[in-house]
């Protein structure tokens, strides 16, 4: 580790390592966050959930979205529609999208999460997974 030689270098390092605790900080106030949960059970991973999740995580970091949390969820029972992505905006019911590809993930992020308008491909669900 090269020594930090200035305030700027310290800031750069802080920005670089920020995401190590970012998830936790967002988790502390998760009710004020837009939560994007990618189902990461075996079925989901087999269908490409990992790529979708990584993609979303990178996008969120790139855009420096402080109010969006990317996390993973378990199998929601929609194995036919994997990868599935659940979106929960603050104060709203959660919405689950099926057959999410990278392209569709981008759309979900931009339109639903940031724009507040739902897009096609919603799986009608009855249960809430974010609250017990």
């Amino acid at each position: 580790m090269p020594k930090i030689m200035s305030l700027d270098e310290l800031k750069n390092l802080r920005d670089k390592v920020k995401n190590q605790v970012d998830l936790r900080e967002k988790g502390e106030k998760v009710e004020q966050m837009a939560v994007i949960r990618v189902a990461m059970a075996t079925c989901g991973i087999a269908a490409g959930a990992r790529e979708v999740m990584n993609f979303l995580a990178e996008e969120v970091a790139k855009r420096n979205l402080n109010n969006v949390v990317i996390t993973q969820g378990g199998c929601m029972g929609y194995c036919y529609a994997e990868p599935t992505v659940e979106v929960k905006l603050p104060g709203q019911e959660s919405i689950v999208y099926g057959h999410v590809t990278k392209e569709r993930a981008l759309e979900i992020l931009e339109k639903h999460v940031l724009g507040g308008e739902m897009i096609e491909g919603i799986i009608p669900v009855g249960h809430k997974s974010l609250d017990e």
């Binding site: 995401n19 966050m33 059970a41 199998c75 017990e132």
Partner: protein
């Protein structure tokens, strides 16, 4: 960048570690690996969450799930259910004692609702062994900011914050820094007092275990402010985990150039060494601490001279306690004006307390100054165990006094507690219920102070011993009313004449219980009764006519003091009875009473 989308935090404080939290971490990692998600689910050991009553704690983020009393064998279920299937493990969630409902998010727990974590801001949140996590939480940004300020401005900011020493004395920190700053010398020292010695207190240990970098950063800030290049942490050797984490923090800080020569490219150089103490209570007194660090006998000397003028090896030295230091970076990050809005008029900020005794939620809490004892005991602490009646609370450890029901609405701050005959101390808070005998409590504390007295000055060396002897007599049923007069007179003399804080405050538990619970003392010496039913010498057990003659008591009496025929009322031979209480526990008919 981190690809983790889920963090599992496991408490790695000493308490939870002794309840196998290391195995929990290992098992969690093992089962994560089995699911193949080790690259997206991070398991890490943090510092103390404070809710020690229900440890070990496991917290899952970002969905903020707070699992309590987790065992290593629960790891598999947590992974399989929560992580893989997204279903929370209900049986590991905290159950609210009043509503009897599971609470998943710790924010909704009464224990955390009224807390405000400033000194403990990173405890239970970051990996204390990873300096980058500290930096990610704006760590060392306060130091960076300070290095652009003048020394006077730094000191003024601390003065403005209103921060007072958290080690017990409550002396204004900024003023202390100013004294050390103004004393010119070629060499000065910053000393961190980590010789936490109050029975049951572990605030400083938890901070060092959970967020050692905050102390390192604060010491460097202090070093810059007063003009010192050298810092020393005096820590008791019986805190091995805190020492390990502090050593690691110092080591990484050096690696990152945050300690050592020319910090952050400035002309300021500062480094820290650790000094081990042998665990003597008196070495928390700053002059005794300095002597101990010099390799001398750990005993105090009269102040003045204060360490700010003549401390370690005669050089100007600023001694602050761990918790005091832990507040410093926040003051510079958020500003003195942010800090001084918290608390009361003369006591700013928050205070960490170690809640212990007959209280439901034993643990470590941080609350804003000005909160009432009632809120701490009943809201955060969850009230008295087993629905018993509150009797008293001892604040300030063995140097403090007992506060009672009438003091419960007192806002907690330095001056209020002193006005009520106790003190803030370093933050020990021991709650007593109706079963606690106050002369016995006073005896307990005196045993501690008499043992921990360094033996230097007469009032403390001989006086505390004599106080203790009288208390021993009283609880043994051999006290006289004259003894109560002696207790008070001797106690006041010790308070008035002892050399250091230890001796001057040693009589407090006696004097305050004598004041608040005089009747209980009189019952002991005049009536030879212990109203709380604790002093075995003053108790006798009796079998009432509720006895149906089941013989359970007689069969369980270890000294065969109970006789009687089957189906007839039994009797206890008082000359044989050793007052162990075994008979009461065995009697199913409430037929045995003690009094």
């Amino acid at each position: 960048m981190s690809k983790y989308t889920m963090h599992i935090l496991v408490c790695g404080g000493t308490g939870c570690m002794s309840s196998h939290s290391i195995e929990i971490v290992e098992n969690l990692k093992k089962y994560i690996a089995k699911t193949g998600m080790q690259d997206i689910v991070q398991v890490l050991r943090t510092g103390c969450f404070g809710f020690c009553e229900k440890g070990p704690i496991v917290k899952i983020l970002p969905d903020n799930t707070f699992y309590v009393q987790v065992k290593p064998e629960d790891a598999e279920e947590i992974i399989k259910e929560h992580i893989v299937k997204g279903r929370k493990v209900a049986r590991l969630l905290y159950t609210d004692p009043t509503t009897e409902r599971h609470i998943s998010d710790s924010k909704h727990m009464e224990f955390y609702k009224k807390q405000m974590r400033v000194a403990l801001r990173n405890c239970g949140f970051i990996d204390p062994t990873n300096i980058e996590e500290y930096i990610a939480r704006d760590g060392y940004a306060a130091l960076a900011k300070v290095l652009t300020m003048s020394q006077e401005d730094v000191i003024n900011e601390v003065k403005k914050s209103g921060l007072r020493g958290r080690g017990g004395g409550g002396f204004p920190t900024g003023l202390k820094w100013e004294f050390a700053y103004k004393n010119k010398s070629d060499q000065k020292y910053v000393v961190c007092n980590a010789d936490e010695g109050d029975p049951g207190a572990f605030m400083d240990r938890s901070i060092l275990e959970g967020d050692p970098n905050s102390v390192v950063e604060a010491m460097a800030i202090c070093g810059y402010a007063i003009g010192a290049q050298k810092g020393l942490v005096y820590i008791r050797a019986e805190y091995p985990l805190a020492i390990k984490r502090l050593e690691a923090a110092i080591h990484s800080a050096r690696e990152y150039g945050l300690l050592g020569e020319n910090i952050l490219g400035t002309s300021f150089s500062f480094d820290i060494e650790i000094r081990f103490g042998a665990g003597a209570f008196v070495c928390g007194e700053e002059t005794a601490l300095i002597h101990s660090m010099e390799g001398k006998r750990g005993e105090p000397t009269t102040k003045p001279p204060f360490p700010a003028a003549s401390g370690y090896w005669g050089k100007p030295t600023n001694v602050n306690n761990v918790e005091t230091f832990a507040n410093i970076p926040v003051i510079f990050l958020k500003g003195a004006d942010w800090f001084n809005k918290i608390g009361t008029e003369k006591s700013k900020g928050t205070k960490v307390f170690a809640l212990a005794g007959k209280i439901n939620n034993v643990g470590l809490i941080e609350v804003p100054m000005g909160i009432t004892l009632r809120e701490v005991i009943y809201d955060i602490g969850g009230g008295i165990k087993d629905g018993k009646k509150f009797k008293a609370v001892q604040t300030g450890g063995p140097s403090g006094g007992c506060l009672t029901e009438k003091d419960l609405n007192t806002p907690i701050d330095f001056d209020n507690l002193i006005a009520k005959g106790s003190m803030m101390g370093s933050g020990g808070m021991i709650v007593m219920d109706e079963d606690d005998c106050m002369p016995a409590v006073a005896k307990f504390y005196l045993e501690f102070t008499a043992e921990e007295s360094c033996g230097k000055c007469t009032p403390c060396r001989v006086g505390t011993k004599r106080l203790l002897e009288i208390l021993e007599k009283i609880v043994a049923g051999k006290g006289t009313e004259g003894d109560l007069v002696t207790l008070e007179e001797l106690g006041n003399t010790i308070k008035d004449t002892a050399l250091c804080g230890l001796g001057q405050t040693a009589p407090n538990p006696v004097l305050s219980t004598l004041k608040e619970f005089k009747a209980e003392y009189i019952a002991h010496v005049r009536d030879k009764k212990c109203p709380a039913g604790q002093c075995s010498a003053l108790l006798s057990y009796m079998i009432t006519d509720k006895c149906i003659g089941c013989t359970a008591c007689a069969r369980n009496c270890p000294v065969n003091a109970i006789t009687g025929v089957v189906k007839k009322q039994h009797t206890i031979d008082q000359s044989k009875c050793i007052k162990c209480g075994a008979c009461i526990n065995k009697c199913k008919f409430d037929a045995i009473i003690k009094g």
